[in-house]
Amino acid sequence: MQIDIEKIAKLAALPLSEEEKSTLKPQLDQILDFVEALKSVDTTNIAPTVQVTGHTNVWRTDKAIAGLTTKESTMNARKSANGLIITEQVLSYEE
C-alpha cells in the first residue's frame, strides 16, 4: 500500500521538509504493509469495538462550576493580548 504523502501531510496539518518526506515515505509504506495482515482476518458479522467501558451517555448535574481563569488559560500562548489568544488569520476577504 502506497501513501500519498503530500495529501496526508496536508490533511494532518503537518509541515514536512523534503528530506522528511523522502525518509518518511518508505517507512510509512512499510508500516502499512505490516498492518495489511488484517485483510485476511474473517470479520463477517463482527461488530466493531469503539470503547471497552460499556458506558453509554455519562451525565453530570447542569450546575456551573469554576474553570480556568483567563490568566491561566492564556499563560502558555505564544502570542496573547488583552486576555485573548492571538492566532493566524483563518478567513481571507476578497476585495
Binding site: 501513501i3 504523502i5 496526508i8 501531510a9 490533511l11 494532518a12 496539518a13 503537518l14 509541515p15 514536512l16 522528511e20 525518509t23 518518511l24 517507512q27 510509512l28 512499510q30 508500516i31 502499512l32 505490516f34 498492518v35 495489511e36 495482515a37 488484517l38 485483510k39 482476518v41 470479520t43 463482527i46 461488530a47 466493531p48 469495538t49 469503539v50 470503547q51 471497552v52 467501558t53 458506558h55 455519562v58 453530570r60 480556568l68 491561566e72 488559560s73 499563560m75 502558555n76 500562548a77 505564544r78 489568544i85 492566532t87 493566524e88
Partner: protein, 463 residues
Amino acid sequence: MKNNYYTLQEIIEGYTQKSFTPADVFDHYYNRHQQIEVKHGLNSVITQSSRETTEKAAAKQPQPIPIGHKDIYSTQNIRTTAASNILADYIPPYSATSVKRLESAGLVGVVKLNCDAFAHGATGENSDFGPTKNPYALNHTPGGSSSGSAAAVAAGIIPAATATDTGGSIRFPASLTNTVGLKPTYGRASRYGVIAMTSSTDSIGHITRTVWDSAYLLNITAGQDPLDATTSNRPTENYLAQIEQGIKNLRIGIPKEYTENIDPKIMSVYEKALTDLEKLGAELVPVSLPHTKDAISAYYIITPSEISSNLGRFDGIRYGMDRSAFGAEAKRRIMIGTFCLSAGYYDAYYLKAQQVRTLVIQDFQKVFEQVDLLVTPVSPTLTPKLGEAINDPIKNYMLDVLMVTANLAGIPGLSVPAGFVGSLPVGIQFLGNHFDEHLLFQAGYAYEQHTQYYQREPEFKEI
C-alpha cells in the same frame, strides 16, 4: 536512612516506628538523585522540583513520601513536556486527578520523569530529551515508553513512579528493570490531566519496587472521576485486603500463542516461573487466544489513528511549539493515523481494526470462563542495547507483541520480576479479567515473596 533502597511499605513502617523524619526521607532521595542520576548520567529525570517547592509541599503532609510522575502527567505550575520539544516550555495550570489524589495521600511529586515523546515508543529512545539508561546495564534501554519511571524506581532515586500503559508502556519497562508494573483495568483510574495518546486504550498506572506498594498506590488512584467520563462507577475495594491469600487452587492459564518466537533464554525464565507457581499451589491450564497475532496489526492501526486525532490539539497557538517540532515517531504516527481515518480508507483500516479488536476481546472472554488469570512472558527478546531498535520502526513495534492484547481488551496486567539472564532482568506478566486487580496482586505477591528477585540491586555498569 542507612540503606540505598526502600519500598513504600518500609517508609510507612519507618514513620510509624519513628525511625526517621520526613526531612530524613527527602534528604535521602535528594542525595540518591545526586549520587546516581547525575553521576551515572541515567537521564531518567527531565525536571526536578526545587528543594523549596518540595519542602513546602511536604510540609502540608503528616507522612510525606517523594514520588516521580511520568512527564505526561500534568503537574500544576511545574513544567510538563511529554518529553517532546513541542511542550518544552509548557506549564500546566492544573494537575492531573491522579497527581492530586496521590498528593492528598502524602505522595509528593519531586521529579518529572523521562519517557518516549508523547509516550510513543518501547525503549525511551524517542524522547526529545535524550534516552534513559537501564540501571542494570547502562548501555541497554530500560524499555519504554515509561523509561524514566522504571529506571528511577530501579535506581532508588524515588520509591515509586506514575506511568501509563497504552501498549505495554508500564509492563514492558518494569520487566526490563526488575520492578513491578501495574496496568489497571481501563477506566479504573482517571486519565484526566494525563496527556492523551490513544484515548480508548490509555491506562493510568504505576511502577514500584514491590507488589504491596503497587496495591497501596492503586488504593489511592482508583475510583470514578467526574472529570473523566470513561472511569468506572464500580466501587473500588481495598487491594491490600486479600494480598497474602496465596494462589492455592487458583486456575492460571498458559496461552500458547504467547510462547511462540520467544528468545529461549526468556523461555527458561518463564518455565521456571511456571514451576514456582505450581509449587505455590496454582493449577496451570493450557489455553488459546487465537487472534493474538492479529492484535499487533489492529493495535498499529487503532493507535496511530487515535494519536492523529489527539495530537491535533497541538496547534502552537494555545500552547506549545508549532507542529514542525514533533519528533520523527510522532510524525510517523500522525501520518499513518490520518491515512487510516481518511475518506476511502477508513473502512478498510480503522473499522476493520476495530472488528479485529472485538475478536481479541471475545478470545479473552472465552478464556476467563476457564481460568482465573493468565501468566505470560513480557518481552519476546532481552533488553535491547541503546541504538539497536531505534532506526527500525517495525522492530520497535514488535517489542510490544505480547503487551497490546491487554490494552485492546481493557483488561488489567501486572508485570513482576521473574529472574535474570546474566545481569539483564526478565519479568513475567499476570493478566486478569476486568476489575480483577486483587487477583493479580494475590498472584504477584505470592510469587514475589517466594522468589525474592526484587532484592537484587542494579550494578550501574555497562555489559
